[in-house]
Symmetry: C2
Subunit: 196 residues, 2 copies
DNA sequence: CGCAATCCCGGACAGGGTGTCCATTATCAT
DNA sequence: ATGATAATGGACACCCTGTCCGGGATTGCG
């Protein structure tokens, strides 16, 4: 059974993650200090460093959580009409569907001001996820693969930002269709154009 | 005529810009302190703050220079075979040709380790440049335009990185052709597919 | 109950970076 | 020569980082 004493530590970690999210939404990532975070989380300074080595460690750890949550969501709610499992871009589709559904969650990380590090961080994480889930049978050369990943991530972030800032009225399903269209239209000439 | 006294100030600024580039290539941007920069440039602390408000100010200013240099290069050496002036993506093409020719210069900013801030900074600058030079007559809706910009910037950075890290033997002209192919193939379905 | 393990806390510390101010010196224009 | 503009070193107050330690609180277990 999970020992109570572990749960205490877990709760502290969760409090810190939550504090980071809250503050990022308000001030952005760059402007944040460890001081701010532990104040928000109401946690001692020493305690923070007992769990994480620094600010970026906390951030990475947070992304790790999001990532696991994402993969789980993808395999758990398997076959959406469009984001089928066997489509080569299925995972990316599912990823965006997830983002569209939990938009607030994503807005925290993408929309927050001063997100220089944050946005690049997100980009890297997303890219890694997309790359890992891309079927290895796309093309021979390595360049197209890298580019496909970049393309998807770009479409992902651009579409979300566009939604948040320009067309907040749209429904998740509409934005989702937009994303799908962009990816398919733009990517078809670059990959084998399988099914479509 | 330009007063000698102004030139002195200009030389100081140039020294600082140069120092920043040199150090970025060696240590990346994040790890840099103002101290390092003024040491490298052999300039007093107070002098630095007399010209710039801080590290990022210096960086921005450096990008500003690059940007002017770029626009000048584009209009001065007008009609390359491929990057014609009247093609809707002409400026982007010229931009990449420039990057391919002065690869070392770009490698400094893109390749340097720890380039989190840097890379996002570059992304923003490039995006702004591309956006401004895109003909306003691409599509009606605003979304495709944002996306086209993102697409181009993504292709730009991805291709350069791929070149630097994976295929350093290729000639600038070959990489250039690759970039052009990617952009045209990927973008044709999204814009009016003009000429091609 | 009592002991040990585990976690959390506050405070203190050295080290380094930042941005500002000022008095002083060097360089240039006329 | 003289006033204007630049550059300088140094000092200062402030904030942030990581680390360390002693003590207090909670939990697991005999």
């Amino acid at each position: 059974m999970p020992r109570e004493i572990d749960r205490r530590a877990a709760r502290t970690r969760r409090a810190l993650h939550q504090a980071l999210l809250t503050l990022m939404l308000r001030k952005g990532y760059e402007a944040l200090s460890v001081q701010d975070i532990i104040d928000e989380a109401d946690v001692g300074r020493s305690t923070f460093y007992a769990h994480f080595t620094g600010k970026e460690d906390l951030l990475r750890s947070g992304f790790q959580l999001l990532r696991e949550e994402l993969k789980e969501a993808h395999s758990a709610v398997p076959a959406t009409a469009a984001a089928s499992h066997d489509h080569p871009l299925g995972f990316s589709m599912a990823m965006f569907e997830h983002a569209a559904r939990y938009a607030d969650h994503y807005r925290t990380m993408i929309g927050g001001r001063g997100g220089a590090v944050t946005e690049n961080e997100i980009r890297l994480i997303l890219a890694e996820m997309v790359r890992q889930e891309l079927p290895p049978t796309l093309e021979g050369d390595t360049m197209p693969r890298d580019f496909v990943v970049q393309f998807i991530v770009g479409a992902f972030l651009t579409t979300l930002n566009w939604w948040f800032e320009r067309k907040p009225g749209l429904l998740p399903s509409e934005v989702d269709a937009m994303f799908r269209g962009l990816v398919l239209d733009g990517l078809s000439p670059l990959i084998g154009d399988q099914r479509r």
